[in-house]
Symmetry: C3
Subunit: 340 residues, 3 copies
């Protein structure tokens, strides 16, 4: 499907600078643009590519003025990233094929139901007394256990596992091989050094608009629920232990881990590989840097933390700057001692 | 199913303080208790909830005396956590439905056998010459390869993969999407900078009473066996590399990783995200803190370690306390130098 | 199958010291050797086992001279590790059974094709318009989406997911439960604190001779491709975010993570649990130590880095050595201050 640059500009409420009559049919990264493609320039780190790109058009900010010659057509919009996202969405609508109906063989217990306009892929498994809403897609080889509830407009991707009794809201995505509702890691130490299983009888609740990344694991509560509130976005390979509660619109990046019974506030950002020990409370709007370890509750909202044992980010960076010079510091101290 | 509080107290060998005739039918978290529920109070961090809970009964320690008014019935027992665990077990017996028989379609090579009282879920796959004991449940979409041995009373959850030649003892749980027996990461560097696969011909052995968490990976040995001894409990997203040996009753929390050929002693505790490099020996009863890096063998048993590069935990905490004040320390040193 | 030690020595171009007429039929670890087995001694850390092993033969280096008595036959070769690897390969050829043909039930859309000499295991799923080369094995319960291309001689293990539009070269292994092509983690923050999905319309490209470990995740590009170049070896539980590029023959160990749009050079070594933030460039031949955090581009090739925030490895080790003595340093400083 082809459009003129002017047509695209119109869709985005943007202004054309250059030849708007050229045809475009593809979205390109600015580094790799070629004729027929549209790119965007948002992060000015990539500005230099504008002057060499072969993309037919580049979406830029209204406020942007080029500092060198360039060989493309500009589409000026208020926020080029948002503009580009709009194009991605329009493009997705055109190319993404919607799966519908039932592929065979697949398995659904007769006590379970699916709403209209759904999809069950081959080798998917749906247990007993499970209710699935409308427009929800259960991809091939996904597992849905017994007594599960899943809302409308969800995508449960191939190999995702939603175990017994879990509850999933509307508009949720559970990506490939994620596990929702495995047993919490609970063992009671015995006098002889062995451990005894503590039954894990609760469930996991995902509210609306939640996304769970590939190969992430969310354990069911010992009793009650592990709760992921609405709008939470969780990346790949993240561990959420039993009885954790995650507040609305919190974002958790890849390989982060949250230990049992910790409650995370809303609108937090938890970067990759960060770890939070159990039974803590993290205030709203907290930002936790990559690989940061949190071993105490955060009571004041709005802070940014970093460090092997978390500190205010500015303090940590200052301490780490001195850490880099510790051998020098030690030598200075020795010199002073000698002079005594 | 309903019981009176007195009946529950009798089951737990406990004493009732308050109205024992009320009916209870549910286990609640103390924070969320409501009429008809029983909660427990073990960690006194949660004591305040006792004074506001709406649960009909709370299990507490014999030694506990409330410091405020409360509005529930107490069941006093020696150890409230153990008491509560007993209730969880009784409750589990009542509610957990036991899967039995064979769901279709499923695949088992005719050369393989399963003991009595087992379960094979839909889309499960069992290869050639595999022997599975009695009361063992192979959940839907689980994979069991060729020449595998699995004992009695095991649960292999949906999407778990037990690859060729692996051996699993009795009473083991392998949770959803865990992988037991993938090839070890072994490559021989070649003169031209490329790497050549080193065949990984060994297997993985799980002894009795082992639990493997969701999405964890245990690689097969290059030759011989990667061995997980009896009573070991492994959490989610843990990596166990080829030829590792893990001693009895060792517990490994989520996202920890153990590199090739390392031998871990028995009764160790390895916290979340800890990492241990290859070819080391870790003494018995070692405790390794969260996110700790171990790059040398631990020869003395019974120590607790912490740190980016592990130190005795007390020493690490002292050093880290000074780290937090490093900019101040640097300023003091500068002052001293000026005064010279 | 049995061979004499002399026959094995001949295969390896080695010299026998001792009785070459004994029969061997098995490969053993030197710690566990027993009659009929062949072991090897490469890492001299294990030398002591040579003097106690019961293996019938041990492969050692030409240059090796024993310092004690031993009770086995030596096979001397230039490089015992390479020699042993050759034996492993020969052994693998003998014992590994080649899967061929189609197990039922399995699912392949009629618009897709597979080359000769392939294998499709039970419950594997192949979507629309997908092309798979010859000698490629799709193991049971693997998922191959729509519009996928896979080359010759690949192994896609049980539960691996290759999502729509991805491209895999020749001689690639994708281990169990790895996910290639899940959506990148891209969300646009909205004014009300919620996040909006950014469509992820690109794909993942694995060039030839790539290996992806169990439960690793490689996200598709927002647009364009996440690219893993030829000869790259990736271990288990590794996260590769959208739009990452990994250079030829780079090796990435378990639980490492690479954030979006970062470009890794060729012949790099990234150790376990290392993390690299987004939008960076890492020069060729960089070695990144275990659990190292990289937050800036590495422009000079050939360096080795270590640390919570990466430093030159030697500098980091010096600083960390002083870190261990910080309480002592602080005391010395206090003493000096008192003397002022």
């Amino acid at each position: 499907m082809e459009f003129t640059i002017s047509q695209v500009a119109e869709l985005l409420n943007g202004k054309v600078e250059g030849d708007g009559s050229q045809k475009v049919s593809r979205l390109d990264k600015i580094q790799e643009g070629s004729p027929g493609g549209i790119s965007f320039l948002s992060n000015l780190k990539y500005e230099n590519y504008l002057y060499t790109t072969k993309a037919s058009a580049v979406i830029v900010a209204d406020s942007f003025s080029p500092s060198k010659d360039y060989n493309t057509t500009l589409i000026k919009v208020e926020d080029p990233y948002i503009g580009f996202t709009q194009l991605l969405e329009a493009y997705e609508m055109m190319i993404k094929e919607d799966k519908l109906g039932v592929e065979q063989p697949s398995y659904m217990d007769p006590t379970s139901t699916m709403g209209e306009n759904g999809y069950r892929g081959a080798f998917s498994h749906i247990g007993k007394n499970t209710k699935i809403g409308k427009n929800t897609k259960i991809h091939p080889q996904a597992f849905i256990g017994d007594n599960v509830t899943i809302g409308d407009n969800c995508k449960i991707f191939s190999g995702a596992r939603i175990l017994n009794d879990c509850v999933i809201g509307n508009n949720c995505d559970v990506h490939a091989n994620a596990v929702v509702g495995a047993d919490g890691f609970g063992f009671a130490p015995q006098a002889d050094g062995t451990y005894k299983n503590i039954p894990q009888l609760g469930n996991v609740v995902l509210e609306d608009n939640v996304s769970i990344g590939a190969n992430s694991t969310l354990d069911r509560a010992t009793m009650g629920s592990t709760i992921v509130k609405k709008g939470v976005k969780i990346d790949n390979l993240v561990q959420i232990a039993h009885n954790v509660v995650i507040g609305e619109n919190t974002v958790i990046a890849a390989q982060a881990g949250i230990s049992g019974s910790t409650e995370i506030g809303k609108n937090c950002i938890i970067a990759g590989k960060a770890g939070i020990v159990g039974h803590l409370k993290i205030a709203d709007n907290t930002t936790i840097g990559a690989n940061t370890g949190i071993s105490k509750s955060i009571t004041k909202p709005g802070n940014t933390l970093l460090g092997y044992m978390a500190m205010d980010i500015k303090d940590f960076l200052k301490s780490y700057a001195v850490f880099r010079k510790l051998p020098e510091l030690q030598n200075k101290l020795k010199d002073l001692e000698k002079k005594q």
